[in-house]
């Protein structure tokens, strides 16, 4: 009975998590399309080589968009979360209400979040159109080249900052308050306490949060799908992979899979050394 249950559980995991992972690589070497019944051919590496050729526009802009998105989201999300965690770590009513508010977007989900911000930034009657109108600024916001990417970054941070905040709060609460009391008794100033106690002891939470933000920003595109569908300079690699596979004009699943394999490799190449670096930093700080 127990072995049967174990085998069943692992079989489901393999079938719906491991097989797709391998399948994605296999599909990336073919001309598989969404048209049922169409013959599938082995293309070798041509999906990969064409990515870097001029035949497939959109790859280089997607690399740029991905880098901008990942850097801005990782920095913004962690700095804001650190600030929030510092103020919301207490057990008072205000802190609890604040935690509830910053975590709320997790429950709302991408579709609702996207539509909320589309309503706020709608170009005709929204509050932001009125606000910027006061300064004579008129824009289509999510439909404008110079606005779309910064706004998408802001909404992505808005969506995920609550989770990072909670992890930082966990890290802050784990620090022994006696350390601060002893330091205060010795006349150590607030800045020095932050630098010598909080910063080093928070290092493990920083590692977790930075890694979550980097990997998340590299791979997710569902929010971009809702907000702009990758238009107006917001087509990251994840969005590009989706759009060439299922967008309105293309149905090139092979090429889309190749893009997602490249995205996966880039994520690993960035994330693994970063993880090693952050771990080493932890050891250095914690002595």
């Amino acid at each position: 009975m127990m072995w049967g249950g174990l085998v069943l559980g692992v079989a489901v995991y393999v079938l719906f998590a491991i097989v797709p992972m391998i399948g994605n690589v296999i599909i990336s070497f073919t001309d598989y399309t969404a048209l049922p019944g169409a013959a599938v051919h082995n293309l070798g590496f041509s999906n990969y080589t064409s990515m870097f050729s001029t035949e497939a526009p959109g790859f280089e802009p997607a690399i740029v968009a991905t880098v901008v998105f990942v850097v801005a989201v990782t920095l913004g999300q962690n700095i804001l979360a650190l600030l929030f965690a510092h103020k919301l770590k207490g057990s008072g009513k205000f802190a609890a209400a604040g935690r509830l508010l910053v975590f709320l977007p997790i429950a709302l989900g991408v579709t609702v979040i996207g539509l909320i911000w589309i309503l706020i930034f709608n170009s005709q009657e929204g509050p932001m159109a009125s606000f910027f109108g006061l300064f004579g600024v008129h824009s289509a916001f999510f439909g404008a080249d110079n606005w779309a990417m910064p706004l998408v970054i802001l909404v992505q941070i808005w969506q995920n900052v609550g989770f990072s905040t909670l992890i930082f709060i966990g890290g802050l609460r784990a620090i022994d308050p006696a350390l601060y009391e002893a330091a205060a008794m010795d006349g150590v100033g607030a800045w020095q306490r932050l630098r010598r106690i909080t910063f080093p002891l928070l290092a493990p939470s920083v590692t977790v949060n930075v890694m979550l933000a980097v990997v998340g920003a590299f791979t997710t595109y569902n929010l971009i799908y809702v907000l702009t569908d990758g238009q107006y300079g917001t087509q990251t690699l994840g969005m590009l992979s989706y759009n060439v596979a299922f967008g309105s004009f293309d149905s090139n699943l092979g090429y889309g899979a190749a893009v997602s394999v490249v995205l996966f490799v880039i994520t690993l190449v960035v994330a693994l050394p970063m993880l090693a670096l952050l771990r080493r930093r932890e050891r250095g700080l914690l002595g």
Binding site: A17, G23, I116
Partner: protein, 274 residues
């Protein structure tokens, strides 16, 4: 010393109110506006009007879509947690030789980016495309947070605190494995089960890429796809869209507030362990 801290505390409070409370309140306000009042003065509330809710409900077909969403998310999350327990118990009890290897094998599932493209291909090949059962099966591991690996991770940790003597007592009494899991283990690991279930459910409930790719028949659509399609085809009916957004998010928000304490505690614990 005291004053600057108070000032910075208040300014963070104002920042959170501006960024997190106002946008949500504004959309709720919009939902209660008549379209004509909203057109004339989008910034100020008029006399509350509830007709948007009925109109959105009918024209976006939200009723059947909400039923689909509840079915998909509850069943997929229950399967994720149930299968998660079946995997976690032998691992936590070290009943097989490669238990830590198996744990790592499932644990990496939390970080592997699942591309939707092979999920689509698999759905086509296995006959899981465009039907309810297929959609649910594919969502056991899919969506924002992969339900099954997460359930295995939290349950393995939680099972460590269930004393081995209970296993032995049940063994002596000759209880069947599943009855033992159901009667003894489930009540004792309830917080972990709840967290696993909630996260898996939220992931399925909020998924938008899955319904866009894995379903074709409008009658099978969950509510996220429904409201998104409604937005695409009624671009200027902002008050209706706002009412739809409120209807769609209300169930999860209520559930979220009701279970806030557990979510907080579990996430905080994860942060401490790092």
């Amino acid at each position: 010393m005291r004053r600057p801290r108070l000032v910075s505390g208040i300014s963070v409070g104002v920042l959170i109110t501006l960024l997190f409370l106002l946008p949500v309140l504004y959309v709720v306000m919009m939902a209660f506006e008549t379209p004509s009042h909203f057109l004339n003065s989008p910034m100020t509330p008029g006399s509350p009007d509830v007709s948007n809710f009925g109109n959105a409900w009918n024209s976006a077909d939200l009723g059947p879509e909400l039923l689909n969403t509840v079915l998909y998310s509850v069943v997929a999350a229950a399967l994720a947690v149930g299968l998660g327990l079946l995997i976690a118990f032998p691992i936590a009890r070290r009943l097989l030789r490669g238990h830590s290897l198996l744990f790592t094998f499932v644990f990496v599932g939390l970080f592997l980016p699942l591309s939707i493209i092979p999920m689509y291909a698999e759905a086509r090949i296995l006959g899981l495309f465009n039907n309810r059962i297929g959609y649910i099966l594919l969502h056991i591991t899919m969506a924002g947070i992969p339900g099954l690996p997460l359930a295995v991770v939290v349950l393995t940790a939680s099972l460590a605190s269930v004393p081995l003597e209970l296993d032995e007592a049940a063994w002596m009494e000759g209880a069947s494995y599943l009855a033992y899991l159901g009667r003894v283990i489930v009540p004792l690991t309830r917080p972990a089960l709840l967290i696993g279930f909630l996260y898996a459910m939220l992931g399925v409930w909020n998924d938008i890429i899955g319904p866009a790719v894995l379903l074709a028949d409008p009658s099978l659509e969950p509510v996220t796809k429904g409201i998104y399609t409604f937005y695409g085809s009624n671009l200027s009916q902002y008050t209706l869209l706002a009412a739809g957004v409120v209807i769609v998010s209300l169930p999860v928000v209520l559930l979220f507030i009701a279970s806030q304490r557990q979510i907080n505690r579990a996430t905080l614990a994860g942060g401490v362990k790092g």
